[in-house]
């Protein structure tokens, strides 16, 4: 038994994850207005309250578990995945669902089978599909601007300043636009010059994606995550997109578009890498990441939803025990796989 330890703790791990999310959050705020900050605060407060209440109900020591910071990470990731202009109760219910059901009813920290943030997101997407599409329009395209007080009033009261219409504030996301336009039969080459698109992904959103990438690199450098899941995830997504794009560029978007839009980078570096619900062996992590990347491409291209990070992650969460069991690494001094299933 070691009498010494490197000073890592669960809370330091979680703090680093939050730190890695900062740049993306800042850019989000810059391009899409203050609504995202409101949802992060809402989600965090709800998460901490729910966590404390659940710890109390389960008669667990509150302090060490609250300080571990895992509830905050869940809240923050959830807020970043949800449309920020949705009414306040949407994010609150999503957070409650994530913490109470997905986390604590499954046994709490370390024991949950499904990624809590993605459970919260998916439940909301199924239950309140209309609200889940209230994505803010990027500032440079907006016909109207909502101040912080206006945002608060809209989120909590649903009222907009006189003369302002919701349509002026929200817009379908690039993935949504691509999807509907393709369904209308327009070739991709005509769709991507539309104003919502930027250089490679969505206008503004592609910068956020870049910030997620930067955060992910920081986490890698800090050894909070390993390269396996993000690399397998993004490589599979890009490869599939590349193949289909090469086959028919009119019907299938380019690989860089797939990487830069939607939840791809957030998912690859922050969500699929959730340690509790992800695969643990090196080989398992590769399989896990690749399968998520592939599923996302399938859902985006042929499925019923514009993006598929949440569903892909949840489906793969279910497979983790199986993946882990079959990918145990060769133990030192063992002849290759001699005694493995």
């Amino acid at each position: 038994m070691a009498y010494v330890s490197n000073s890592a703790s669960v809370s330091s791990v979680m703090l680093k994850v939050l730190f890695a999310l900062l740049p993306a959050t800042a850019i989000y705020q810059l391009y899409f207005g203050p609504a995202i900050l409101v949802s992060i605060v809402l989600a965090s407060v709800t998460a901490i309250g729910a966590e404390a209440a659940m710890l109390r109900l389960r008669k667990l020591p509150i302090k060490p578990f609250l300080l571990d910071g895992s509830a905050l990470v869940t809240a923050w990731l959830l807020a970043l995945s949800m449309p920020p202009l949705a009414p306040w109760w949407l994010i609150v219910i999503a957070t409650l669902f994530a913490i109470v059901v997905a986390k604590h009813l499954y046994g709490g920290l370390g024991n949950n089978l499904f990624n809590p943030a993605m459970v919260g997101y998916a439940v909301m997407l199924i239950s309140f599909p209309a609200h889940m599409t209230q994505w803010p329009v990027v500032d440079t395209l907006a016909h109207a601007h909502l101040s912080l007080s206006g945002t608060l009033r809209f989120i909590f009261g649903g009222e907009l300043p006189a003369g302002m219409k919701l349509d002026a504030l929200t817009l379908a996301t690039p993935l949504d636009t691509l999807r509907t336009q393709l369904l209308l039969g327009r070739p991709a080459s005509e769709i991507t010059p539309m104003p919502v698109f930027g250089y490679v992904g969505g206008k503004g959103a592609e910068l956020i994606a870049l910030a997620y990438l930067a955060g992910g690199v920081y986490l890698l450098q800090q050894r909070i995550i390993t390269w396996h899941i993000p690399v397998a995830f993004l490589a599979t997504l890009a490869l599939l997109a590349f193949g289909f794009h090469a086959y028919d560029a009119a019907r299938y978007a380019a690989p860089w578009f797939h990487l830069a839009t939607g939840g791809a980078l957030l998912g690859a570096f922050f969500i699929a890498t959730d340690p509790v619900t992800g695969a643990t062996t090196p080989k398992g992590k590769l399989i896990f990441g690749a399968a998520i990347g592939a599923l996302i491409y399938l859902i985006r291209t042929w499925g019923g939803y514009p993006d598929g990070v949440a569903f892909a992650v949840l489906i793969l969460n279910m497979c983790v025990p199986l993946i882990d069991a079959y990918t145990q690494p060769r133990v030192f001094g063992h002849v290759k796989d001699q005694d493995k299933p």
Partner: protein
């Protein structure tokens, strides 16, 4: 519609046959069950379960004639393992059959022993040595601690000595200072 129904019925029938066949096939493997149960029983051979030894008790359990909670030396852990093997709910030890005691061995006070050989006849594992009218002694390594030799001794010179833990048999304890529960 009709074809669908027929197909379903056919499938049910087929599955039923497979299951029935499997049931018959597994029935053949019943005799090893006694051995599997016997492998879990501690082999103290003390008879506290109400049977003249572990094997007869195992046979009775396999035949459904005895409950799984009658062996005090096996304790809760033995019951747990039996319940797992047999796929039944574990239950607390039946107190009628005695309580689980720490593992012990019998010691004969060699100064008092009169060499009557009664203990030899009682010992289920022939762990007592001695000739008639000669001092008797217990082979400690072979004694199961069944206590069967104690009542027959006419001069009450046999006592049970709990087995002491030493450096070679010592066990690391379950770590206790982790936060409970998880």
């Amino acid at each position: 519609m009709l074809t669908a129904l027929l197909a379903m019925a056919g499938l049910t029938l087929f599955l039923g046959l497979v299951l029935g066949f499997a049931a018959i096939k597994f029935k053949v493997e019943e005799s090893p069950l006694v051995q599997k149960i016997d492998a879990i029983l501690p082999q103290t051979q003390c008879g506290q379960c109400g049977f003249p030894g572990c094997k007869p008790y195992a046979t009775a359990i396999a035949a459904g004639e005895a409950d799984i909670n009658q062996c005090p030396p096996g304790g809760e852990e033995g019951i747990q393992r039996l319940s797992e093997l047999l796929g039944v709910e574990p239950k607390p030890l039946n107190a009628e059959h005695g309580v689980t005691k720490p593992k012990s061995v019998a010691v004969i006070d060699e100064n008092i022993c009169i060499g009557c050989t009664l203990c030899i006849q009682a010992c289920p594992v022939d762990a007592i040595l001695g000739a008639a009218k000669h001092m008797h002694t217990v082979i400690e390594a072979e004694c199961t601690g069944c206590e069967l030799c104690i009542p027959p001794c006419p001069v009450d010179c046999i006592s049970m000595k709990p087995l002491q833990e030493d450096i070679t048999t010592w066990k690391w304890k379950y770590p206790m200072y982790a936060i409970k529960h998880f």
